[in-house]
């Protein structure tokens, strides 16, 4: 149950690879086609954040099985500049770069668990979980 995939995120084409890997893993884990799409979309948003702000990082995708509860775990990590104001970054419509400012808040909305840890000058880690229903 520890099928784990790690995708380096260094350029925009890696976003496509990451979300395709995510969809495959979600399919193998038993998620519906609609949920696979939602998971792929959330991966697209958090990995784009890496490309836009940190230039390089990685996303690790794995299946979870915690006491019979199954799901998918997505961890996106970078060593970029970090996010100065996380509350602001998580606000709908806020963006400093080239997005609509819906990526991170949108991803949080569609996942069951979402955690963003960021340290200035050290990087950002986004951890998301979605459980199989």
């Amino acid at each position: 149950m520890s099928a784990e995939v790690s995708v380096p995120i260094e350029r925009d084409a890696d976003i496509v690879t990451a979300r395709q890997e995510g969809r495959q893993l979600a399919a193998a884990a038993g998620f519906s086609s609609a949920d696979q799409t939602i998971i792929a979309l959330a991966i697209s948003e958090i990995t784009r954040n890496i490309v836009s702000y940190a230039q390089r990082g990685k996303v690790t995708l794995s299946r979870m099985d915690e006491g019979g509860r199954r799901g998918i775990l997505i961890v996106a990590q970078d060593d970029g500049p970090g996010i100065p104001d996380i509350d602001l970054a998580m606000r709908d419509g806020y963006s400093t770069a080239k997005s609509l400012g819906v990526g991170l808040p949108g991803a949080r909305r569609v996942m069951d668990e979402f955690e963003l840890v960021s340290a200035l000058g050290k990087g950002t880690t986004v951890t998301m979980k979605k459980w199989l229903r």
């Binding site: 925009d12 496509v16 979309l41 784009r48 819906v102």
Partner: protein, 124 residues
């Protein structure tokens, strides 16, 4: 991989066949902006039937293609958004507000012709 743009009379049609990177989407945007003027097009159709995800960058680019086409005197319509894709967009809060959409290519062409008729443009 760049997306070929087909010219059918007054209408430009791009059928996206595979997942596109941000850069490829931006190239499609620029190609449309150029060709609408060059071919004096009245309509632009973007067929996204083959896409399994439309994320914030893709929706922003589609909006930009539609607005740019409009400023150049053409109507744009996005066709073929799959049910799962539409559902995920709604859940995430992504919208194509202000952009015409249609079920498939046929409906999209009908829309372009209808708008042209009402607007007095002649579509060949």
């Amino acid at each position: 991989m760049s997306v070929p743009i087909l010219k059918q009379g007054d209408v430009l049609i791009a059928s996206i066949q595979a997942a596109l990177s941000d850069r490829e989407l931006a190239q499609l945007h620029d190609a449309f902006a150029d060709q609408v003027g060059r071919f004096r097009s009245r309509g632009v159709i973007i067929d996204v039937t083959a896409l399994d995800v439309l994320d914030s960058f893709a929706t922003r680019t589609l909006r930009s293609i539609a607005y740019t086409a409009k400023l150049r005197g053409a109507n744009a319509v996005v066709v073929g958004i799959q049910p799962d894709v539409a559902f995920a967009m709604v859940q995430l809060g992504l919208s194509l507000e202000g952009v015409a959409t249609a079920l498939d290519l046929e409906e999209g062409l009908a829309y372009i012709r209808d708008v042209a008729k009402r607007g007095g443009h002649r579509v060949r």
